[in-house]
Every structure is written in structure tokens, then in C-alpha cells.
Subunit: 319 residues, 2 copies
């Protein structure tokens, strides 16, 4: 049997990744979605299994990984503002669970393909004008520190041949469907999503703030690509900044108005929030995509497509 | 009471740091040396206490840190080749013990000054010609990965105000007195020390390999300086590459011959060792000292002084 596991399988990315894998031509016999609350089954496909499991429980990671496991997409995480406010929980989930999963892979079957979703939040502070894969990570959030440590763990386990690890740093994703969450970047989706649904959204940062974004479809394609690349293509270091596009809040709102009207735009209110601004403005607004593109990862064309993608795929389901 | 703790207090650096602190004008009432075997007492000074404690034991870190603790120099570590060969022990000591000490500081008395000795081994792989404090860490050893993760931990605890952390990346230290150890860089001292003692030394790397070095006296001065700097001087990121000088093995041996004779030089034999070469040649041969020098850290003048320092301070005690 060839099993794919998605941790955080009940989350937005986990569900979307599951659907994409089921539609793809990838060969697998089981797709196991695991999350702290039982994941929704995104399909009638008989290959899907849904499992409620708190990975922080002792022995949970060991019970999850078996001889059948071929690929793990480790997406489960405590998001940025949540990890900033609950320091202990952030370390437990974002660092310890990652380590326990790596240990379980190592001891069960060395060489399991392990795709770790990291984040541009590993960057922070005084950054060079253009961030590259060789820019030091100096995170200004516990979430960023935990993800940066996870990256080092996965790389060392991969170097030792204990897992076949791959680390992808996700840009901020926009537009996420659903409700706001505890990510500091939650507003990035809210300021597009809520106005389109006829609701008010709060923007806690300056309109000039530059964000580094990817659409959900592009991130999902890139996660699958990360799992498919040959080990040798990474050239000794398994961490890649996924491609994104740099957009200011102003540019996002211009695109929103262009695709809707002044009334929709007027639903966005600016109310500065220093805690959120401190975290989000510590992230890079521009990253050099060249290594990722050379590795075959994809990039969105412009911000307009983010709104089009959301309206086509997600909005109808809601309103 | 104002207590200073040195973990790894029985080691070469711990003992030398203790002596320097006792001779200095720093104000403290107790200097606690802790190590897995009872540390030698380096002085008759009544302020010194020596403690045998395995920091990996459950509860050990919590028992060590008290309301009296003002400064911790965390030097205890599993060195590079040792951590490469004993994967589990390396993670346990180099990562988990560091975290347990930080947790003990946080819960006992937030704001304890915590000086963490990291290493140039955090660097590795395809490095830029000159490494700076803003160069990404892509370690090619488990030791390097563990130290890099410790750096991120200390920085995040410091950012949160849980400790007053400072991280210094030590160059390779030369000349260490005593016997070879399990550091991959152990030969760097051996090829000077052993010939001076009339013994043969094996050099496992090419004579062209560039090393990044500091003398023991300079490192000790810099460790104390790291503890004395104002928090604000670090400017948001607490990790500093300590100054070093770049020297090739050839240049080291030229200096040795110049200060001794051809017979002494002839005691160095070249016997390539791929495991050692892989680790040591992944480290940078040149690092930009400018940030460290601006922060008041010191640098050695040239390699000749390394040999002079060893002959004056250590050699007489042995032969």
C-alpha cells in the first residue's frame, strides 16, 4: 500500500490539497487526513480516510506513521498570532510535533518523503531589499522561530537519510475562504473576502504595507511539486522560498474596486493594530523567486487572479 | 547574592572563563561551575563552587537555576564529530538541555542574562565568499543544526523578555591545551600542540584548507564582553559572529616552523580523513568581523600570537 498523510488535514490547505491529490494522476492507495478535530471528508473517493488525533499526545506520531506511509505533508501548526499569545502551545505543536513525526518516520521506515510547510514568517527585522534563499532567518515572532527550527530539523534528518525531507516556505495566502483565524495575516484575506460577501472588514495595517502573496491554487500546486521533485534537485539544502508576488494593501484594494465597485471597497475600514502590524511588517515584501522557479515551482500572474480564483471557486459556495 | 553559572564548567573554556572572571573586576558572590563530571576548582577563591550534574536528567536544569542566578554562560555541548556519530545524544544535550535551561530561567526569574556559545558550524554548504551576520545558516552537521536551533530559541526567549539572551558564534579555537577531543576541528589544535610537545600529529585535511580561528584568550574576553553589553546594543537580534582570523593550514605550519624548527614541523603528518574533511570544509574560512568589532568584541592580531599564547600559558604546565 502507498499511503499519503496530511496533518492539518481538516484545515483549509489540507482539504484543498486532498482534493487536488485525488484529482491528480499521483499513484496512492490511501489518503489519510488527520487533525485535532475530525477532518471533513472532501470527496466520495474510497481512498480517503479521516482521523481525529491530537498529535501533541504522547505516542500519537508513532501511531500515525506506519510501514505503509510513503509521503507526509506536515501542515498542522499553531498560526502566528496564536503562537505569539500561547507561547507553550506554539512550541509544543510547531516544534515538538514536527520532531516527533520525524522521529516516527526515522524509526518506522527511513526515507519517507516529508514535506514541511514553513513560512515567510521565518524572516524578520532588518532585511535586505531582496530576500533570497541565502538570507539569514531572524524571526520576530515565536511562530517564525518555531518554523525556522523545524526547517533545520527536517534538513538534518534529510541529510542523515532518515527522511526524504522537503521544506517549502509559504507566502501569505490570499484569498482564504471561511472565517478570520488567529494568523496575524488573517486580515489579508478578510479585506477581500468580507467585502465580496457584503460584510465589513478591518485592515489593521497601513495601506502602503507590502505583502508577499500566493493564491491557494498556486500553493497547492507547489506543495505537490515539492513532493515530486527529485532529491538531488535541491542541491544539499532542502528549504525553498515558494514563489510569490509583492503587492501593497493599496494595490489589493485597487484590484478589488476594479473588479467590483466603490461600495464594495468602502466596506474596508482601517483600524491600526500595533500587535498585528509588528508581526506582519517584520515579514519581507519581496523575495527573489529565481531558485524556486528554476526548480519548477509556479507563481501567480498578478493580484487580479487572486480575486478571480476566490470568486470562481469559493464565493458561490457561501453566498 | 549574585551568582554566575558556567555549564561545561569542567571543560577547557569553562575553566579558563572561570579564572578570567575571578581575576576580573566583575561583581559576583558565587561562581558555580557545573559539568557532567565534577569540575576541577580552578582557584582558591571562596566564591567558586563546583557541582557534578547531568543536565540531561529530568529536573536538573530547574534545580540549577535559582533566584540568586544572575548570569548563565551555557557552554556545555556535545562537540561536532561526537554529535554526528551519536545523533540522539547530540539533540538531547545541544538542543533539549538548552531549552530546559531557558525554561528554568523563564520560570524562576525572567531576565537572567544567558550567554549561549554557538559556533561557526551553523554555516555550511555553498557559502558566499564572505559570510556575514545576515548569511543564512545551512549547517552540514547535526552539531551545526542543533546550535542554529539553540540560537533561534535564545533569541525568541530574549525577544519575549523571558531571558536576557546573547548568542556568540565561536570561531574554531586554537591552541586548545590537553588531549584531542571529538570535535571535527580537534586537529586544528593538535597540529600545533603535539609538535611543540615533541609528539606526532595527524592533519586530516588539505594544507590549503582555510580555517577561521580565535585564540582562547580572545574568546574568553569576548564571552565576558557578550555578558556585559547593553541589551539595546544588539539591535533586535542577539546573535553575533565573534571575530576571527582566516588562516590556511599551510600558514599555521609556516608560523610553527618560524617559531621552532624544521624538526618540529616534520612531526605533522598528512592523512586525509573524509568524515572530518566533510564537516570542517563545510565551515566558512572568512567571516565579516565588522558588526562584532563595532560591538566592541576583540580580534587576534595574527596566527603567530596563537602559538606564543599557548607556549606562555599552557606548554610549561605540561612538559
Amino acid at each position: 500500500m502507498m499511503q499519503i498523510i496530511i496533518t492539518g488535514g481538516g484545515g483549509f490547505l489540507g482539504q484543498r490539497l486532498a482534493k487536488a491529490l485525488l484529482k491528480s494522476e499521483e499513484a496512492f492507495t490511501e489518503l489519510l487526513l488527520v487533525d485535532i478535530v475530525e477532518p471533513a471528508n472532501p470527496s466520495a473517493d474510497g481512498r480517503v480516510k479521516c482521523l481525529q488525533l491530537d498529535l501533541a499526545q504522547s505516542g500519537a506520531a508513532e501511531s500515525l506513521i506506519t510501514q505503509n506511509t510513503s509521503v507526509v505533508f506536515h501542515l498542522a501548526a499553531i498560526v502566528s498570532s496564536h503562537a505569539e499569545n500561547d507561547f507553550d502551545l506554539g512550541w509544543k505543536i510547531n516544534l515538538d510535533v514536527t520532531r516527533q513525526l520525524l522521529e516516527a518516520c526515522r524509526h518506522t521506515k527511513p526515507g519517507i518523503r516529508f514535506v514541511f510547510s514553513s513560512s515567510l514568517a521565518v524572516f524578520g527585522g532588518d532585511l535586505p531589499e531582496t530576500v533570497t534563499d541565502m538570507t539569514a532567518v531572524t524571526p520576530r515572532s515565536s511562530y517564525g522561530a518555531q518554523k525556522a527550527m523545524g526547517e533545520l530539523l527536517v534538513n538534518d534528518y534529510a541529510r542523515k537519510g532518515l527522511v526524504d525531507g522537503r521544506v517549502v516556505r509559504l507566502p501569505t495566502i490570499c484569498v482564504r475562504p471561511g472565517k478570520p483565524n488567529l494568523a496575524a495575516s488573517s486580515f489579508v484575506s478578510s479585506i477581500i473576502r468580507e467585502p465580496l460577501q457584503g460584510e465589513t472588514a478591518i485592515c489593521p495595517v497601513s495601506p502602503e504595507l507590502a505583502l508577499w502573496l500566493s493564491s491557494p491554487d498556486t500553493v497547492i500546486r507547489n506543495l505537490i511539486h515539492a513532493a515530486k521533485l527529485e532529491e538531488s534537485e535541491f542541491g544539499g539544502w532542502r528549504t525553498v522560498n515558494l514563489p510569490g508576488i509583492g503587492v501593497t494593501v493599496n494595490q489589493m484594494l485597487e484590484s478589488l474596486e476594479k473588479q467590483t465597485d466603490a461600495e464594495t471597497l468602502a466596506r474596508v475600514k482601517f483600524e491600526p493594530n500595533e500587535a498585528i502590524n509588528r508581526i506582519v511588517s517584520s515579514w519581507p515584501g519581496t523575495i527573489d523567486n529565481s531558485r524556486a522557479l528554476a526548480l519548477g515551482f509556479q507563481v501567480d500572474k498578478n493580484f487580479d487572479v487572486f480575486i478571480e480564483q476566490y470568486r470562481k471557486q469559493d464565493l458561490q459556495q457561501i453566498v
